[in-house]
C-alpha cells in the first residue's frame, strides 16, 4: 500500500480538483487501482462536494480542553490569571458575558464590581494547558472537554472516503487530520487497498505536517504567480525537512509564463521532478459546479488531457505493486 499526499503552500491552487480527478482516473485504468481517500483539510473539506459520498459512519471528535472556574469556591486571588500565558482569563473585556452574568448573579448578593472582578475564562482563547487548574490553591478550576468536530467514513463512487469537519474556532486540527488519516490507513491495510490518497490543507504548519507524515510521495500543486512561487518554496522546504519524496505539478500554468519557467528552473536546480503543467481551464470550475471530477465532466478539455498525463507519471513513480 502506498500513500500519496497532495499539498500546496498557497491555498486555492487546485489540490482538491486534482485529487478528485485522480480518484476518477485511477478507477479507469485497465487494472483499476483500489484506493481509500482521506480529506485532510478539515477547515475546508471540499473533496466530498465532488465525490458525492454516502456517509456510513459519523463520529464525534472530542478535544479542545478548556478551563472552567467554579465561583462558589473561587476566592478571587487571581493566581490563575497570573499563570495564564494565553490571555484567556479576564484579558479582554467580554461585555456580553459580563452582562449575562449580572443578570444571572444578582441573587448571589455580589456587587457589580465584584462580578466584574470574577475570573472569567474565554474558552476560545484558552489553550487547554491546565496550568491554572494545577495552580489554583482552592481547587476551583476544572478542565472540560468538548465536542469540537466530527469525522465520517463514507462510501464514494470511487472508493471509501474519510473526511471531517472541525467546528469553527476550534483547535486541534492537526489531531483531527491525524485521526482521519489513521482511519483511512487502517481500512486500507485491513482490506488490502493499493493506495491512500490524501488531499492536504494549505500552508506548512501543524495540519500540513500531520497530513504529510508517512507519505511515500507528496505531489505539490504550484501556481505560477509571484505569491505561488514564494509559497511553493516554503512547502518544498517542509517536505524536504521531513524527507518526503516530492513531485511538483504546475496548475493554471499559462496565466503567467515567466512564473512557470521560474518554477521549472527552481525545481530543476534542486532535483525535484516537475510532472506536468495543467493549463487554466474554466472546465475545472464548471465540473465543480456540477459536482464531478473534470476528467469525467469534460474528458476532452485541455485540463483533463494534462491531468491524465500527470496521473500517469505519478502512478509510475508510486511503483504500486502488481501495477508495474
Amino acid at each position: 500500500m502506498k500513500q500519496l499526499v497532495i499539498l500546496s503552500g498557497k491555498g486555492g491552487t487546485g489540490k482538491t480538483s486534482i485529487a478528485a480527478a485522480f480518484a476518477h482516473l485511477l478507477s479507469l485504468d485497465g487494472v483499476p487501482l483500489r484506493a481509500v481517500f482521506a480529506d485532510a483539510d478539515v477547515d475546508a473539506s471540499n473533496l466530498e462536494l465532488v465525490l458525492a459520498p454516502r456517509i456510513i459512519i459519523r463520529e464525534a471528535f472530542r478535544g479542545g480542553l478548556y478551563a472552567e472556574i467554579n465561583w462558589e469556591i473561587c476566592t478571587g486571588c487571581g493566581l490563575c490569571k497570573e499563570v495564564c500565558r494565553f490571555d484567556a482569563i479576564n484579558a479582554r473585556s467580554m461585555p456580553k458575558f459580563h452582562q449575562q452574568m449580572s443578570h444571572h448573579y444578582p441573587e448571589s448578593g455580589m456587587s457589580g464590581v465584584q462580578i466584574q472582578n470574577l475570573p472569567l475564562v474565554d474558552p476560545i482563547a484558552c489553550d487547554g494547558c491546565a496550568a491554572c487548574y494545577y495552580q489554583c490553591p482552592e481547587g476551583a478550576i476544572t478542565m472540560q472537554d468538548q465536542i469540537v468536530g466530527e469525522w465520517c467514513r463514507s462510501e464514494s463512487r470511487y472508493g471509501p472516503l474519510f473526511h471531517a469537519v472541525l467546528h469553527p474556532a476550534q483547535e486541534n486540527s492537526g489531531k483531527l487530520v491525524t485521526l482521519v488519516k489513521q482511519q483511512a490507513r487502517l481500512l486500507a491495510m485491513d482490506e488490502n487497498y493499493d493506495l491512500v490518497l490524501v488531499d492536504g490543507p494549505p500552508g506548512i504548519g501543524c495540519p500540513v505536517i500531520a497530513a504529510a507524515s508517512g507519505a511515500d510521495v507528496a505531489l505539490v500543486v504550484a501556481e505560477p504567480t509571484a505569491a505561488g512561487v514564494h509559497d511553493l518554496q516554503r512547502v518544498l522546504e517542509t517536505t524536504n525537512h521531513f524527507n518526503i519524496q516530492t513531485l511538483v505539478c504546475i496548475n493554471k500554468a499559462d496565466i503567467y509564463s515567466a512564473g512557470a519557467t521560474g518554477i521549472k528552473s527552481y525545481c530543476e536546480d534542486r532535483g525535484i521532478q516537475v510532472v506536468g503543467k495543467i493549463p487554466f481551464d474554466l472546465a475545472v470550475t464548471e465540473a465543480m459546479v456540477h459536482g464531478q471530477p473534470v476528467t469525467l465532466y469534460a474528458p476532452g478539455s485541455p485540463s483533463s488531457k494534462a491531468l491524465l498525463e500527470v496521473w500517469g507519471k505519478v502512478e509510475a513513480i508510486l511503483h504500486i505493486e502488481g501495477k508495474q
Binding site: 475546508a44 500565558r85 479582554r92 469553527p168 509571484a226 512564473g259
Partner: protein
C-alpha cells in the same frame, strides 16, 4: 479601526483585497498599518513592497531540565497536556516541537529543576512601504507546527496596532490561526468565489465570525464563474455583499506578477475607498444595535 480579511477557502484573493485596501487608504492620508498574519504562506510583502528593516525573532519559552536537580518524580510529565515532557527511566526528556510554552511544568517542579529557555520558532519583519504603509509580517520557520504564537506576537509588535487603520491579512481556514488573527477585529471582510467550494468554506468562515461576535461582509472575487449560490446564501443569512471583482484575465495576470489591484486598474482606488466607507457604516450600525441590546 481593525479590519481583518479572511476566507475559509484558500486562494480566493484575500491578499489582493487586503493590499488594495491598505494602499487605497494610505493614499487618503490616514495612518495605515498592514499585518500579514498568514505566517505559513505570507505574501502581502510581494504587493506592498515594504522596506523590511525591522526584525525580531519569535521566541517561545520552553522547559530546560537540570539533570543534577531532577529526581525523575514525573510531576512535570503529569501536568503537561501536550506530551512535550516525558520521564523515561528516571530521565526527563523535552520535545520542543510539542511544547506550547505554557510554563505549567516549571511551576509544578518540586525541585526547581526546570528553567525556561527561549526557542526560536519564526521571525517578525517590518518596515514602511513606498505608500507609507506601516507593514509587518510573521514568518513561521519551516518544520514548526504552531503558527499561533507567531501571529500573537506579530499583533503585539512595535506600534503596528496603533495606526488609525489596521488591515490584517488572515490565513485561510476557520481554526486556531484564523481565530488568533481576527480576534479583536472591528470587521471581518470575507473574500470568496462563487463556486461550490467557495460557498462551503464561506459558511465555515461566517460561522466563525458569529462565534467571535464580529460584524462581517463579503467580497465575491472572480465574479462570473460558477453559479449564484453564494449570492443566495448571503441574502439568506443577511450577509452584505460589499464588492464584486470580475473574473478577468488582466487582473489574474497582473496579480500573478505581483501588482496590486490599484496598479492593474487605477479606478479601484475609488472602489476601495468606497468599500471602506461601507465597512465603516456597517461597524457603526452594529455598534448601535449592540448599544440597544
Amino acid at each position: 479601526m481593525l479590519i481583518a480579511i479572511a476566507s475559509g477557502k484558500g486562494g480566493t484573493g484575500k491578499t489582493a483585497v487586503a493590499t488594495a485596501l491598505a494602499c487605497a487608504l494610505a493614499r487618503t492620508g490616514l495612518s495605515v498599518a498592514c499585518l500579514d498574519c498568514d505566517v505559513e504562506a505570507p505574501n502581502a510583502h510581494i504587493f506592498i513592497q515594504p522596506d523590511l528593516v525591522h526584525r525580531k525573532p519569535v521566541e517561545m519559552l520552553i522547559p530546560h531540565v537540570d539533570a543534577n536537580l531532577c529526581t525523575g518524580c514525573g510531576e512535570c510529565a503529569k501536568v503537561c497536556q501536550f506530551h512535550a515532557v516525558v520521564v523515561l527511566g528516571g530521565k526527563t526528556l523535552v520535545f520542543p516541537e510539542l511544547c506550547h510554552g505554557c510554563g505549567s511544568c516549571t511551576l509544578v517542579c518540586p525541585e526547581g529543576a526546570i528553567k525556561e529557555v527561549p526557542r526560536v520558532m519564526g521571525i517578525l519583519e517590518g518596515g514602511l512601504s513606498p505608500d507609507g504603509i506601516n507593514f509587518g509580517r510573521g514568518v513561521l520557520n519551516v518544520g514548526e507546527p504552531m503558527a499561533v504564537p507567531v501571529i500573537a506576537q506579530l499583533k503585539k509588535w512595535r506600534d503596528l496596532m496603533d495606526a488609525e487603520m489596521v488591515i490584517l491579512d488572515s490565513p485561510p481556514g476557520a481554526s486556531c490561526p484564523v481565530v488568533e488573527s481576527i480576534r479583536g477585529a472591528n470587521f471581518v471582510l470575507m473574500v470568496t468565489e462563487p463556486t461550490p467550494f467557495g460557498l462551503h468554506d464561506l459558511r465555515q468562515a461566517y460561522d466563525l465570525t458569529r462565534e467571535l461576535d464580529i460584524t462581517a461582509g463579503v467580497i465575491i472575487n472572480r465574479d462570473g464563474i460558477g453559479n449564484s449560490d453564494v449570492e443566495g446564501y448571503c441574502r439568506e443569512v443577511g450577509l452584505p455583499v460589499l464588492l464584486r471583482i470580475p473574473l478577468e484575465r488582466e487582473i489574474g495576470e497582473g496579480l500573478a506578477q505581483g501588482k496590486t489591484l490599484l496598479e492593474i486598474h487605477p479606478e479601484y482606488e475609488v472602489t476601495f475607498r468606497n468599500l471602506y466607507t461601507q465597512i465603516a457604516e456597517k461597524i457603526a450600525q452594529s455598534a448601535v444595535i449592540d448599544g440597544v441590546q
